[in-house]
C-alpha cells in the first residue's frame, strides 16, 4: 500500500533547470508513465524518486513519509533499467533469488518464491540456464522478476523496453500490461515512446522542458490534449495543425483561413477572450480527415473543404497514410487499406468538425477547444 506524492519538485544542474516545480500524485497500485522527448526531465524525476539525485527544492513522500533524506537503499524501491541489470554468469534462479538471499530469507521460502515468480513470468523452462544465454525478453523478465520478488513499495522502470527489437518489445509490452493488472504494484514508468505510455498506463504525465504538460488517463490525453505540445506528441501519425484566424461577430464565432470557414459558435464563450490575438491553430487527427478523389465528386464540395494533391501514400498493412499537399501545407490522413490514391491526384479533404481541436500558437498554452 504505497502512494507517491511529489510536491514542488525542482532539480537544477548548474544553470540548467531539468525539472521545474513538478507536482504529481501517484495512487496506491497505480501505473503512471512519465512521457516526453529526451531532455524533458522524466529521468531526472525518476532519479529523484530513487535517490540517485537529490532535489534542489521540493518534497517527495511515499505514503506519509517524506523520503528526501532517506538513503536510496532504505526507500523500498525496485529499479529496472534499460540495460538488464542481471548477473549473466548466474542462473535465472540465482538471479531471482539474489535479493531474498541478501535479506537472509530461509532457503525453503526462497525456493517457493522464486518458483512462483518464474511461473508468473513464464520463465520456468529457463530457470536453471545461465542468464547470459537467455533471449532478450527473458533477460528483461528476469530483471523485472528479481526486482518484484523483494516486494518493493514502489517499482521504478526506466525505459525497460528500449533495448528490445520491435517484436520482442510488442511481446514484452503485453506481458508488462498483464503483470501490472495482476501484481497491483505502484509503478512509475519512464518512456519516450507514446505508444508504450498509451498502452500500459493508468495515467500518463506528459512532460516537456522540465514542466508537466498534462496528467491524465491515456484516453483523455489522446482525445482531449491539454495543449499543442501534448497533441503533437501523442498519436502516430501526429495530429495535423492548420493556422487559422478567429472571426467573431455579435453572436457567432468562426475559424477561417483561405480554404475554409469553420463554424465554432458553440464554443464562442471560450473564444471571445482571443478577440485581440485571433491567430489560432486548428488541430485534427489523421483518422478524422476524409480524403476523396475530386474525380469521384460530381461537383465541387461545399462547406469546410480543402482541395489539394496527393503527395505520397504509405501503406501500413491495416490502413494507409495519405499525405496531401494543400498549398504550402502538408496534411496526413489515415484511410482504409482498400483505398488507393495516385501521387499528384487531385483530392478534396474534409474533416469531422466534432473532432476539431483549437490551440493557441504557443505550444504550452492551454487548448481552447
Amino acid at each position: 500500500m504505497t502512494k507517491v506524492i511529489i510536491k514542488g519538485l525542482t532539480k537544477q544542474f548548474g544553470k540548467l533547470t531539468a525539472v521545474q516545480n513538478l507536482d504529481l500524485d501517484v495512487k496506491d497500485k497505480e501505473f503512471v508513465s512519465l512521457l516526453g522527448p529526451s531532455g524533458c526531465g522524466k529521468t531526472t524525476t525518476l532519479n529523484c524518486l530513487s535517490g540517485l539525485e537529490t532535489p534542489t527544492t521540493g518534497d517527495i513522500f511515499f505514503d506519509d513519509q517524506r523520503i528526501n533524506d532517506i538513503p536510496s537503499k532504505d526507500r523500498g524501491i525496485g529499479l529496472v533499467f534499460q540495460s538488464y541489470a542481471i548477473f549473466t554468469h548466474m542462473t535465472t534462479f540465482d538471479n531471482l533469488a539474489f535479493g531474498l538471499k541478501i535479506r537472509g530469507t530461509p532457503q525453503l521460502e526462497i525456493k517457493r518464491e522464486v518458483e512462483r515468480m518464474a511461473e508468473f513470468l513464464d520463465i520456468k523452462e529457463v530457470l536453471h540456464e545461465k542468464a547470459g544465454k537467455l533471449s532478450l525478453t527473458n533477460m528483461q523478465k528476469t530483471a523485472i522478476g528479481r526486482t518484484l520478488i523483494i516486494r518493493p513499495k514502489v517499482l521504478l522502470l526506466d525505459e525497460p523496453l528500449s533495448n528490445l527489437d520491435a517484436e520482442s518489445r510488442n511481446v514484452m509490452r503485453t506481458e508488462l500490461k498483464r503483470l501490472q493488472k495482476e501484481v497491483e504494484q505502484t509503478t512509475i514508468f519512464v518512456t519516450h515512446d507514446q505508444l508504450e505510455a498509451l498502452t500500459l498506463s493508468d495515467r500518463i504525465a506528459v512532460m516537456s522542458a522540465g514542466r508537466l504538460q498534462q496528467y491524465d488517463t491515456p484516453e483523455t490525453v489522446y482525445n482531449h490534449p491539454e495543449n499543442k505540445f501534448v497533441a503533437n506528441f501523442i498519436g502516430s501519425p501526429s495530429m495535423n495543425f492548420i493556422d487559422c484566424s478567429l472571426k467573431l461577430s455579435d453572436e457567432r464565432a468562426y475559424l477561417v483561413n483561405e480554404r475554409f470557414t469553420l463554424d465554432l459558435t458553440s464554443g464562442r464563450d471560450r473564444l471571445t477572450e482571443f478577440a485581440n490575438s485571433p491567430e489560432l491553430v486548428l488541430g485534427i487527427r489523421p483518422e478524422h480527415l476524409n480524403v476523396t478523389s475530386l474525380s469521384d465528386l460530381p461537383t465541387q464540395p461545399k462547406g469546410s473543404h480543402m482541395s489539394g494533391s496527393v503527395f505520397m501514400t504509405e501503406p501500413l498493412g491495416y490502413e494507409n497514410i495519405v499525405s496531401v499537399q494543400v498549398d504550402g501545407l502538408m496534411l496526413k490522413a489515415t484511410v482504409p487499406a482498400t483505398s488507393s490514391f495516385e501521387v499528384n491526384e487531385k483530392v478534396s479533404v474534409t474533416f469531422d468538425e466534432d473532432h476539431a481541436h483549437v490551440f493557441s500558437k504557443n505550444g504550452e498554452e492551454p487548448a481552447i477547444i
Binding site: 510488442n170 500490461k177 484516453e219 501519425p237 504509405e314 501503406p315 491495416y318 496526413k332
Partner: protein, 361 residues
Amino acid sequence: MNITKRYGSKTVLDNISLEVRDKEFFVLAGPPGAGATTILRIVAGLEVPDSGEVYIGEQLVNDLEPKDRDVAMVFENLALYPNKTGFKNIAFPLRQKKVPENEITERVNEVARLLKIDHILDRYPRTYSGGELQRLALARAMVRRPKVYLLDQPLANIDALIRANMRSELKRLVREIGQTIIYTTHDQLEAFSMGERIAILNGGMIRQVDAPSAIYERPKDKFVASFMGSPRMNFIECRCEVKNGRTILAQESFSLDVTNSRPLSTSDGGPSDLTLEIRPENISIHLDNRSDESMEATVYVVEPMGSRALLSAHLGKNLVKALIHGGSDLKPGGKVWLEFDKNKLHLFDKETLQALATRPV
C-alpha cells in the same frame, strides 16, 4: 538495367540471385544479420563476393573499383564532413573528379534546389536538422548522377516522430530522382510503406521477392508472414479435414468451415495438422455469441493505442491478437467472441512452414 548477383559465400549470403529493374525502388528487408547491408556493400564494391557475379546494366562489375561502378551509397551515419559547409560537402565528389568549377557550382545548386536545401548551403552540417542532414547526404550522392543509388538504413538513426514524416518525404524524393534505388532496412513498416518491390531476407537467404501488397496478403512462408505486419500475424495450430468437398478447420476451441474461401484440394486426403494465420486487423469481436462462426475467447489484456486498441485474448491455448476499435469495456478474464474474416486467412503447412496452395474458389 539488370543487376544480377550470385554468391556462394556460406556465412553471410548463401547463393542468392536478385534482379533489380531499371528505375525501381527496391527494398532489401530483414532482421539484423540477414545480409541486406552485405548485399548493398557488394553492389557498391566495398565487399568482394566469394563467388557469384554482379551486373549493373549489361556490365559485369566484379572487377571494377567502387568509384568506377557509377553507384552512390548513402550510409546509415550519413558520413558528412563536419568541417565543410553544405555546399562543399555536395561539391566534394565533383572536385575529386576535377570537374570545372563553374559546372560544380551549377550542379550543386541544381540538386540543392531539388532537395530544398539551397537556402542553407553556406552553413555547416551541425546546424542542419535531421531531415536536412538526410537531404544533404542524398544531394552529395545525386550530384554525381549515378545510375544506381544505394541507401543503407537511412532512417534508422532518426527520432521516431521525425521518421514518420521523413518516410513520405524520402519516398517522394526518390520518385523524383527517378533512378534505380536499392534500400536496406530492418523496419518492416519502412519496407512495406516505401518499396515498389521488397526482398525479404533471413539468414543470408531470400525468402520472398514481391510487391508489398503481395507479400502482405500472400506471404510465402511463416517467416515472411511474421516479419511483415505490426501487430504481428497470429499463428493458430489446428487440424484440417477435407470431407464431402468441404474444408473444415478445427481445434478444441473452434470449428471453421472455409470451403467458400480457402478450399484445400481433396487429393490432400484426410485430416492434417496445419497452421492457420490471420492478421490482427482481420478479426472482429463481439460481446455475445451471435453466429456459428464466432469463437469464444478469454480476454488477457487490452492495450489502448489512441484511435484503436490491441486486444490479446486466449482462444483455447492460443493467445490471439486483434486490432479493434474501442475496447474499454473489455476486462481481463472476461468473455469475448472472435470472428475471423475467412477471406483473409492463410493456411500453412505446420511442418514445412510453407503456404498451402488452395483450390480456386
